[in-house]
Amino acid sequence: MQVFHIRYRNAQGTLMRILNAVSRRGLDLTSVHAEAAAQDHGVTLQLEVTQKQVGQLCREWYAIVDVIEVRSSASLREHGDQDGAWAPHPPASASGDEPSARAALA
């Protein structure tokens, strides 16, 4: 089980676009919790996904213009609800120092 936390501007349809990225893949939404968070809004989703889908979903969510930040982690239950379990998911370019580039050079 994977948990995703997405921060977004609560513009028309943004939450629906986030959910649509899930439904178009035929995934079941085990849990959805959305609420105002500081100046923005946040939604936490719990999904049964493959590792490949984690990357695809994070990138697709980040491509939504009103999404600000996407984070993912394994289920909170599996990690004892620790803050450190969250892994940021900015779809950044590879540089010479990053794991993907190192893998490429290996």
């Binding site: 349809g13 178009r24 695809q56 491509a63 213009v65 600000i68 950044a92 540089s95 010479g96 050079l105």
Partner: protein
């Protein structure tokens, strides 16, 4: 005081729009009422799908935002295929739809559809306008998102009472997006990583897609490719980005790509992708796609990375920024000698399109037609066999010279798109190549061509079948030609005549002699150079097939070159 409709048009005009395509109806009537004197020219198509494809054609050939208008309900839903097409092919498009009165929304009123909801998953951004006050901001933001980053479609749905309402208007506004924490541009470090990969590579190749054109970085890309001098090929939307006479250029890649391109892509150990999605028509079986390659992926849209196959080195950003950054580092680097690999990959042995070469009359015909086109002509291909034949034979180096519905594969695209292209480029030869199936999907746009006297040159490759489906039925469904027979097609020349458009017919027999006879050549020249619209029906063998072909689920190395029954 201005009406909402006037404010919409003033804001649209402020975005640089002077041409829109559309079809009027009840809820959008106030906007049509305000058109006169607005500075925005409206082109009436004969169907809303024609309007949105025409707007797409305009956008694809100019790089500007195309605008389509339609009324609520069926008008809006008729736009949906074009919106999906623009999403798949990264076309900047704004659709403005009328909606029922604000108070009636949600009541299943006459001609009410939830167009915001219907198009939510197909648009890059959309809004249902709720007050007259927000019109300037919505228009500004909509156009910003349509053209920024990876371009895409936007829908702005405006209730009819808001179009009729009045308020003071202080002028259009500009939209400035808020920065996001992870929007940082790619920095130079990726260049060193790519150079390191190149220094280890024995068989590097480059794949060019639509992103190279959309970024406006064609000169930079061509200089980079000249310096790299590695086997290079293009997706269907990348055609024209690379000068076809470049010695390292191998043509189109993918399901109906050239033998040379597909073979090199299968053999490579380092694939550099410049602005392509790596969709399934390019990769074949993704598990056997470039099986020995590491992938460097230059891409503006992070959502496209790792979609089909994981890449080792993503370079996210506008190619107009990332290519020069990389090139500057590459120039200082020492690279291996790849002349042996180049000689194999680009050699004559692999260069032949198909063992039968020019034996097929339709290929001969398209070759003959394309060779006689004036410079800088634009070809718009519909969807099907003729599309792939045309893409295989396209040999011009014009980045926006070959236009087609690639990602969505929407039949009926070509004729209305040609309307938009011709209006954008009135002095350019615009050649619309369709099949007999696709042409009939938007045949009503002959009326638009006639009304505007657009000198579009229309070719129907008529095999009296839904040819590509029939080809698959022949090869994979034991010749069960279920519902693909179009032998009762109308006489297209007579149809053209009814629209007061000159039409004529060319038979395959005219291609028996090759090069063609002087008489046939003159006929084609006259067709291409006539001042008005013209229709040419080319009678194609019913069971002609497109080869090479990578069967669905096969690897690119498993191309077939002839019927496999």
């Amino acid at each position: 005081m201005l009406k909402g409709a006037d404010i919409v048009l003033r804001c649209v005009r402020a975005e640089g729009v002077d041409l829109v395509f559309g079809y009027p109806g009840g809820a959008i009537m106030p906007l049509y009422d305000a058109l006169d004197g607005s500075g925005v020219r409206h082109v009436l198509t004969r169907h809303e799908q024609g309007a949105v494809f025409a707007a797409e054609g305009f956008a694809r050939v100019t790089g500007k935002v195309g605008v389509a208008m339609a009324t609520s309900g069926p008008g809006a839903t008729n736009l949906v295929t074009g919106i999906a097409d623009a999403k798949m092919d990264s076309v900047p498009l704004v659709c403005i739809t009328g909606q029922v009165r604000t108070a009636m929304i949600g009541t299943d009123a006459f001609q009410e559809t939830d167009v915001f909801g219907v198009t939510l998953s197909l648009t890059k951004w959309s809004r249902l306008v709720r007050t007259i006050e927000e019109i300037p901001e919505v228009i500004a933001e909509g156009f910003y998102w349509a053209r920024s980053g990876r371009p895409g479609p936007v829908v702005i749905d405006i209730p009819t009472d808001i179009l009729k309402a009045k308020r003071e208007f202080s002028g259009p506004v500009q939209f400035t997006p808020l920065a996001r924490p992870a929007d940082a541009k790619a920095e130079g470090a990726f260049s060193d990583a790519i150079v390191a990969l190149l220094q280890q590579a024995e068989r590097p190749v480059a794949l060019v897609g639509a992103g190279a054109k959309l970024s406006g970085a064609i000169p930079e890309l061509r200089r980079l490719l000249d310096d790299l001098n590695v086997p290079t090929f293009a997706t269907v939307h990348g055609l024209g980005a690379v000068q076809p006479q470049s010695p390292y250029y191998l043509g189109m890649v993918g399901m109906h790509g050239t033998r040379a391109a597909n073979t090199a892509l299968h053999e490579t150990d380092l694939l550099m992708v410049f602005g392509a999605r790596l969709d399934d028509r390019v990769t074949g079986d993704p598990t056997r796609f470039a099986p020995n390659a590491k992938i460097v992926h230059f891409e503006i849209d992070p959502a496209q990375l790792d979609r089909v196959r994981a890449c080792e080195l993503p370079v996210i950003g506008n190619l107009a920024d990332t290519i020069p950054t990389f090139h500057a580092v590459l120039r200082r680097a020492s690279l291996p000698d790849w002349s042996g690999w180049r000689a194999v990959a680009c050699g004559q042995e692999r260069a032949e399109l198909d063992p039968r070469g020019l034996a097929q009359p339709t290929i001969r015909f398209l070759d003959e037609l394309f060779s006689r086109l004036p410079e800088n002509s634009v070809i718009i291909a519909d969807v099907g066999q003729h599309q792939m034949w045309a893409a295989q034979r396209y040999r011009a180096g014009s980045p926006r010279g070959f236009i087609t519905s690639g990602g969505l594969g929407a039949m009926g695209f070509a004729l209305p798109a040609a309307v938009g292209v011709q209006l954008a480029k009135p002095d350019t030869c615009v050649l619309c190549v369709s099949g007999d199936g696709g042409f009939q999907m938007n045949i009503q746009e002959l009326a638009t061509v006639r009304r505007l006297n657009l000198p579009v040159k229309m070719v129907i490759v008529d095999n009296k079948y839904l040819g590509m489906v029939r080809q698959w039925q022949q090869l994979f469904y034991e010749r069960n030609y279920a519902e693909t027979d179009l032998s009762d097609n109308p006489d297209f020349v007579d149809i053209a005549k009814a629209y007061k458009i000159h039409g004529w017919r060319l038979n395959e027999a005219a291609m028996a002699e090759y090069p063609v006879s002087a008489e046939t050549g003159d006929s084609i020249d006259n067709f291409l150079r006539s001042p008005g619209p013209e229709l040419l029906v080319f009678d194609c063998a019913p069971e002609a097939n497109v080869y090479p072909m990578v069967p669905a689920g096969a690897a690119l190395s498993e191309m077939v070159f002839e019927d496999i029954e």
